[in-house]
């Protein structure tokens, strides 16, 4: 009898774990770590970044929240993260549909975009890794700032939920690192940048 109870408990526990939803924290804002860059920025989220959740993370397959599924697709981790970086770095920012729209906008000083360089999520023997190349251009399309940010996180466990939570931490770390790096270089203070962004040019 005792043994049967143990088996039933084990089966129930396994079923509950498999069916539980992962409540991930949305990335709305990042911790401030310095003054904002006094420029108006346009940011562009590439279609590649919009697709990344579904493409690379099998535990995020399927749209919306459901039994055994996460809410990641609805949370829009990457688009929201890029927007959070722009808000944290620049005095003013807005999303544009294409890069050209950003360059053509007279109210914009600089254009920011990011490109996924590498991702590691499916090999359970390695930690989760996200590597993104971040770029900021002047209006004449010359590169003002560029960096490749790598964020790495080891999941607490191998099953779906710990890995989904670890992915959330890894993405947040990526966006926080990117914001810190963009604010750190003081690239916007060089005379050449001031000249490039003069309103009468």
């Amino acid at each position: 009898m005792h043994r049967r109870h143990m088996i039933v408990t084990l089966v129930c526990f396994t079923a509950m774990t498999a069916c539980s939803l992962v409540q991930l924290e949305p990335i709305q804002s990042l911790d401030p770590s310095g003054p904002r860059v006094p420029l108006h920025a346009a940011y562009w989220v590439s279609p590649q970044l919009r697709r990344v959740d579904r493409l690379f993370f099998p535990f995020m397959e399927g749209a919306g929240c459901g039994v055994g599924r996460t809410c990641v697709d609805d949370r829009r981790i990457f688009p929201d993260g890029v927007a959070a970086v722009a808000r944290a770095v620049f005095e003013d920012s807005k999303e544009v549909a294409t890069l050209d729209a950003g360059f053509d906008d007279p109210a914009v000083d600089v254009v920011m975009a990011s490109e996924l360089n590498a991702i590691q999520a499916q090999d359970f023997a390695r930690p989760l890794m996200i590597r993104i190349v971040w770029r900021i251009w002047a209006k004449d399309r010359s590169v003002l700032w560029l960096d490749t940010i790598t964020s790495t996180v080891s999941p607490d466990g191998l099953t779906r939920n710990p890995r989904a939570r670890a992915f959330n931490r890894c993405a947040r770390d990526q966006f926080q690192q990117a914001a810190n790096a963009m604010r750190a270089g003081r690239w916007w203070e060089t005379p050449a940048v001031r000249e490039k962004n003069r309103p009468d040019r």
Binding site: N117, A118, Q120, Q122, D123, R126, R131, V133, A138, S142, V143, L144, W145, L146, D147, T148, T150, G185, W187, T190, A192, V193, K196
Partner: protein, 178 residues
């Protein structure tokens, strides 16, 4: 390792051409497969930032157009790796005699997957090098070892200033073929 210092910028490069070193670092003989890994180290001690981008690193063979460092090739796909694993186990259980060639294929596919991961991990990052900054890593030039002539091969590393108002500094290294 070949190195040069000019205008406060130091650049060092080391192409990996031999099979033993390539296998030690990447698990496969990459130059035989058509990708020569070049270790690049850049240190900016000048007063202005410079732009380090993999596409600005090129290999020039005599009489040919320059070949820029390329994207990391997909040497193995997840689907092929999984299929190889399934085939391997099926062969062991059902047709033991067919297991050996299947396992060899499976091992090759897993090694290719491992190589792609290592290439990604060790890749040179694109970045703005601020004064005092440095970066290092591998770029992968899309050429086979056998296609390299004994002499006249030049590797160029172009580092434009940021904002890119001029050409910046270009470093050229002559590389000896195998």
């Amino acid at each position: 390792m070949l190195s040069q210092t000019r205008a406060g910028i130091a650049v060092a490069v080391e192409p990996i051409l031999d099979e033993v070193t390539s296998k030690k670092i990447f698990a496969l003989d990459l130059p035989r497969l058509g990708f020569i890994p070049v270790y690049v180290l850049v240190r900016n001690l000048a007063g202005n930032p410079v732009l380090l981008q993999k596409t600005s690193i090129e290999l020039v063979l005599p009489g040919q157009t320059a070949m820029p460092a390329g994207e990391i090739p997909a040497l193995a796909s997840a689907a092929r790796t999984n299929a190889a694993a399934v085939l391997g186990w099926t062969a062991i259980l059902v047709v033991p005699i067919a297991a050996i060639p299947t396992l060899v294929l499976q091992d090759m596919e897993l090694r290719r997957a491992e190589t792609t991961k290592r290439m990604t991990e060790f890749e040179l990052p694109d970045r703005t090098l601020t004064p005092g900054g440095s970066a290092f890593g591998f770029v992968y030039l899309p050429v086979k070892r056998d296609a390299l002539p004994g002499r006249g091969v030049v590797l160029t590393v172009r580092l434009p200033h940021v904002p890119a108002d001029d050409e910046g500094e270009t470093f050229s290294f002559e590389i000896s073929g195998p």
